[in-house]
Symmetry: C2
């Protein structure tokens, strides 16, 4: 059961260390710092005490059977400690240690997997950064910070990108649930994690970073049954990139077109960059629009034009407004503004104007989703138009994303939007790309 690994009641950190340079120190320190409230036991034959906790010389000496063993010992010792875990009935292990398939040592990796399977332990890794479960306040990883709680879960084959995402999420108040590094995937692979996340009530949106997948058929089967949005960045597309992927985690990147087809079949949205992956996961955490009609509102003409261009590039439809909408807009807009989509309020970024135009645009039947762009010009409190969007969105079931532009001066407004779970982006083009993926998700749902 993967849930015993990712939601453990008790943990042994095997290779726990007082040496700050060691992963075994870092992981135990992160578990303590994160505020995990259940049982945790350091294990290391060379230490009596680690981080103020009694250290056991072997898992065989532990006062109880533990659910999860996190293993951070040299590769050659892994089989021994894994055997010991098996003997005391550990439910699953996370092997942080490196030096297996990724350096050509497939024999050792096979041996380790066989031991895990003999004892019916699920095994994540080897060569993984570990995982984070925010709901349990459990940072069982080498990632130095704990993200806030939320509905996005992230499965990654790269430790780097695990680090990058958690950092990015923290800076955006983006709430995460699980962050899992699958490493070499000797036992547990992407499909296993997807199955777990599919049933996991805390996960609403799934983000993946993939270098290569071996059991493609199973992956498609599992992914296509998930009733949640899945967005994935699959690298190793290029010749140079796929050669590099082979030496990085030993995974065969495969022909890229095969992945394109597989993702399509599985209903997985494919991102091309980290920025698209992260930004889109944020948008995919709100409900998709009923159709593809996009409205754009801005107090800055340039930003509205840029957003309209990019909508057209991506095939997003900006419908003409109904005569009713145009008539009502005319009654609230300044005389110099034109009632159209994209809508430019000709500089007026007040609460009243943003409330009125946001409301009117969202009431147009052809508009299914709205992008609101606010450009800060120092004369208005940028929290006021943000509050207008928040207020209008309350009584409306159409998705709204925003782009508040203006750097340091708009910090409080951005925080307000984030707190109200409105996906907000520092540049309008990023909002358009993310919104496009929310529309793509709607199309995927329609095909199912």
């Amino acid at each position: 059961m993967l849930s015993k690994v990712l939601e453990p009641d008790s943990i042994a950190v095997i290779g726990a260390s007082s040496n700050r340079e060691k992963w075994g120190y870092r992981i135990l320190d992160n578990i303590i710092a994160g505020g995990y409230l259940r049982e945790v036991y350091p294990v290391n034959p060379n230490e009596d005490e680690v981080l103020g906790m009694r250290c056991y010389s072997s898992v065989l000496d532990l006062p109880r059977r533990v659910d999860l063993g996190i293993i951070a010992v040299p590769a050659e010792i892994v089989p021994t400690v894994l055997e010991e875990c098996g003997r005391i009935g550990v439910r699953g292990v996370v092997i942080v240690s490196a030096g297996f398939g990724e350096v050509g040592n497939t024999e050792l990796e096979d041996r380790v997997r066989d031991i895990a399977r003999d004892y019916e332990m699920r095994m994540i890794g080897p060569n993984t950064f570990g995982f984070i479960n925010t709901q349990l306040h459990l940072n069982a990883s080498i990632i130095p910070q704990m993200p806030g709680e939320g509905g996005i879960s992230f499965v990654t084959q790269s430790g780097t990108f695990g680090l990058a995402l958690v950092d990015w999420a923290a800076s955006q108040q983006m709430g995460l649930h699980l962050v899992v590094g699958v490493g070499n995937k000797a036992d547990v692979d992407d499909s296993d994690i997807l199955e777990h996340l599919s049933a996991d009530q805390h996960t609403k949106t799934i983000m993946m970073y993939i270098e290569g997948i071996e059991q493609g058929r199973r992956f498609i089967d599992v992914a296509s049954r998930i009733g949640k949005p899945v967005i994935a960045l699959k690298t190793g597309r290029s010749q140079a990139g796929s050669k590099a992927a082979l030496s990085h985690t030993g995974s065969l990147a495969g022909t890229d077109r095969i992945y394109d087809g597989a993702f399509k079949q599985a209903g997985i949205i494919r991102a091309r960059t980290l920025e698209e992956l992260f930004d889109s996961a944020l948008a995919l955490s709100i409900s998709p629009p009923a159709g593809g009609g996009i409205g754009i509102v801005s107090n800055g003409g340039g930003a509205a034009i840029l957003a309209a261009d990019l909508c057209e590039d991506l095939g997003l439809h900006l419908p003409d407004l109904s005569e009713d909408t145009i008539r009502i807009l005319k009654s609230v807009l300044p005389a110099i503004a034109t009632p159209a989509n994209p809508l430019d309020t000709a500089g007026d970024g007040s609460y009243e104007m943003f409330k009125a135009v946001t409301d009117i645009m969202l009431s147009d039947r052809s508009i299914n989703a709205l992008l609101v762009i606010y450009v800060h010009a120092e004369m208005v409190d940028p929290c006021l138009p943000a509050e207008a969007v928040i207020d209008v969105r309350e009584g409306c079931d159409k998705p709204v994303v925003t782009s508040w532009i203006g750097g340091t001066g708009i910090g409080a407004a951005v925080k307000l939007l984030e707190e109200h779970r409105i996906p907000n982006y520092p540049l309008p083009e990023r909002a358009v790309v993310a919104l496009n993926n929310l529309v793509r998700y709607k199309r995927i749902l329609q095909k199912r």
Copy 2:
């Protein structure tokens, strides 16, 4: 002479105000706060003193003739004050006031232009945010902050994007020289500013935001004679966007393909997003590579693969390394790393490793430019690999760009790179896009 406008010895702020809500307050306040050391005179018949300075009721009362008049009075009064400027021999004016061509009031705009021409005054605007000249510490604009000094100048038809850039530049320690809002371009247009920047010794790189250009032939002539990189974002590409552009600044956006051709002929690099525009301007501030061979170095495999993929997408060439390079790399790399391009140091982000591999890669004859990606993992001081890149780059004439990934923990390292004028990006994909535009600039130079 546009230089008397953009490098004035004396300024009158006409419409200067004690009311913080007025542009006339904001601009005078910004001029004072910016530290402009030459003469500045507030002018307003309804005020005796503004911001602690004596206020003159008309430019006719000024103790001396001024070079520049900045006009922030209601549109209908502009002709009168402009006449007065002409009579005392003001060299040029910046008209911040709105309410002209952009709201259909072309008659008033024509009248204002005629007055300026009668008196041989150059006129920027109307409907502009003003301009910034960092070298003179002159913030003659409504932009609330003064960017640092540097070699990038920015010409923009959108006030919004002027604000956004200055903010972005400040957050990145990106040095700017001139930031000019051209507004409605009733007299001075993009071509005039380009001519000025072409001769301006402080400007090394030119960034433009364009919604529409009227005198295309002249623009191409001027742009194609500039011996500096020019990168431009031209919006209004889409149908919806070009309709919006028409109502925003009254400029005819024109068929987009015409602009594509014109930019190509003029040797202007075209950006598609604000992020590409800003990021690429940073890369274009260093010397272009001698050829198109790109090397990639990283301590994180995933980031190297992602960067390699995007290089291939953009048509950037990742050459195979020479046998010599491979041999030397083998002698310094950990046993588990593969000497190849992209190069993954298998996690080693030490000063010694980054110095060695950066040096070796840059010595390979087929590598013309290098992208160094560092992924922070909390065990190493991220300043050390940054210092390695800085040290190696000192004695090398090949361009180097970097991507330090890891958020808050790497702040000091990023600052170090920025201080040494190494273009650095928070995501590897952004570094690749910027580097691609540096390679495009090299090709433009080769065609000339």
